[in-house]
Amino acid sequence: MVIKQAKEVLRIEAEAIQNLIDRVDKNFANAVDLIYLSRGRVVVTGVGKSGIIGRKIAATLTSTGTPALFLHPVEGMHGDLGLVMKDDVVLAISNSGETEEINSIIPIVKGIGAGLVALTGNPDSTLARDSDVTIDIGVEREACPLGLAPTASTTATLAMGDAIAVTLLDKRSFQKADFRRIHPGGNLGERLMVRVRDVMLTGKGIPIVRVEQPMTDAIDEMTNKNLGLTLVTDSEGILVGIITDGDLRRLIRSVDNILQRPVKEVMTLDPKTIDEDKLAGHALEEMEKHRITSLAITDGIKRIKGIVHLHDLLGRGEFKFRS
């Protein structure tokens, strides 16, 4: 009897996933594109068992290169919606599509300007109607009696979440090195989801010299601040250049009396910068793209607000650029 029942449950759950195959259509592709093209994170939300599934989907997305986090809608209503930005995509999970807690945050999410993808078993629901894209995760039958616990429907949701994550992974050409980047301590994915402003060095921690100062001052500043570089400003504090350890090594043999020369003769012009509202993950991508280890953070007129170093993002000794 027990074996028969177990087989019955597994048959129902397998059927639920089998059914999903026919439901994967252009809506699925649109949802993946929406997430892929967004410059923000995926914010997964749901309550009850859907919430538990949502946490797993967020973790899977993060592990496979799509920055994601879980937001409980009730916490959202009490202030946590502040973490949703306009570049984010909210992935809302509700089998009925009428979960009050979820539907109450929809107007706020829409007001912020974030994208909204619904994972629901009811394509005619309020959630589906208000979403940019709806993915149908409806099942024909639950395996648990009396609706005491969702079974096949949560299995289907979980499977669809995996389909989204893996599709995005393929789309991003996620590499072995990316896994190294995201998995060293298990919590690195979370660390890359914070904003640059939350990890950047500010105030006296920023190595800065002015263009007219001699290179000896620049070397002292680089040594004291221990970032292997110094930013260079003009007399009005506007960022104009950068000197790095690498610059010094390259120039020390080719330039005479380098220590007596003013900084402006040695510096590299127009250093790379990043907006403080960007994700730490984006900062990491920029560093990797340009093969540099720091990015300056400036305001609209290029006044220095901070600096972010690889170590601030990843911790020491945990990162190597892809060869």
């Binding site: 019955e8 979960t99 807690e101 024909e140 039958r141 009696p145 009396l146 969702p150």
Partner: protein, 321 residues
Amino acid sequence: MTTYPPRGLIGALVTPLNDDHRIDKPSLKSLLEYIMKHLQGVVIGSGDVGEGFLIDNERRMELTTESMKIADGRIPLFLSITEDIEDQTVENIIYVEKTRKKLNYRGDIFLLDCPLHYHGNKGLPCLYVEFGKLTSLPFVLYNNPLLITQLQKHLKRKNIRTNVLKKLSRNEQIVGIVHVGELRRAINYGRAVRERRNFRVYDGSELNFLSRPGLGGVVSQGANILPAKWSEVTESSTNPKEALREDPEYYPRIWKTGHELKLFHEAYMQNPSAIIKSALKLMGKIQSSAVFEGTLRITPKQESMIHDLLIEHGLLQSPNV
């Protein structure tokens, strides 16, 4: 545009009779009013508890007309049209069409048909194409192998074959199926009609629904006696509300209700029409527990058993109180 049948609890109504075996119209009204507010649809003259295969032509027409008058569009009606032979079934389709027009009936009507009672699997898709020429009303199929066996039909097949259902589901006018029997077949039927998103597969077997609920809903005989409790369990199974789950009393209550429904199911399945009618008479919902010629009469033991069960569950006052 095709009308799709509702999800949820569909009550299979017993057919109330007078002691002289005429349709008991006041009891029909009383019973419908008692259960209607808890249901998403109601089956009139079903082959099992509604004794639909035993109703003669005159009384079926009377039952159909009266049900439409009482329901008055307030609830979707599943009108059983099946007869022993195809020609009589056709007559029923025509009668429903005429009555609907005559009464200017605006509510949803679905024609419930058990084709294997008068036809084999072969040629079923063509049969419904022909039926479609007689009516614009949607059809819901009824698959009940036990009933076909009981009626001693020596047909090769007791079930609508899955691949035949797949073909039938391509006919837009066929919008659902009620399956009484093995869960495995219900799953296969679900797979066969997958391409029709709104095609409804109802559990005609209450026990299947209570253990592994199909999200299309259930066609329930027990809803005659316990409509509110069947409604609560159906809602919980097909449309669970997360908010309700926060209530610490929710799980114990649903569990207890489910257990109660199973107890009643076990009791009335010994002789469904007679025992349910007896219960309804005791509860004062119908005047007589008379059944059609051909239905087993209730035994004194069964009568005593349902009486005690009703008292035990507070549906009837104990004579000692």
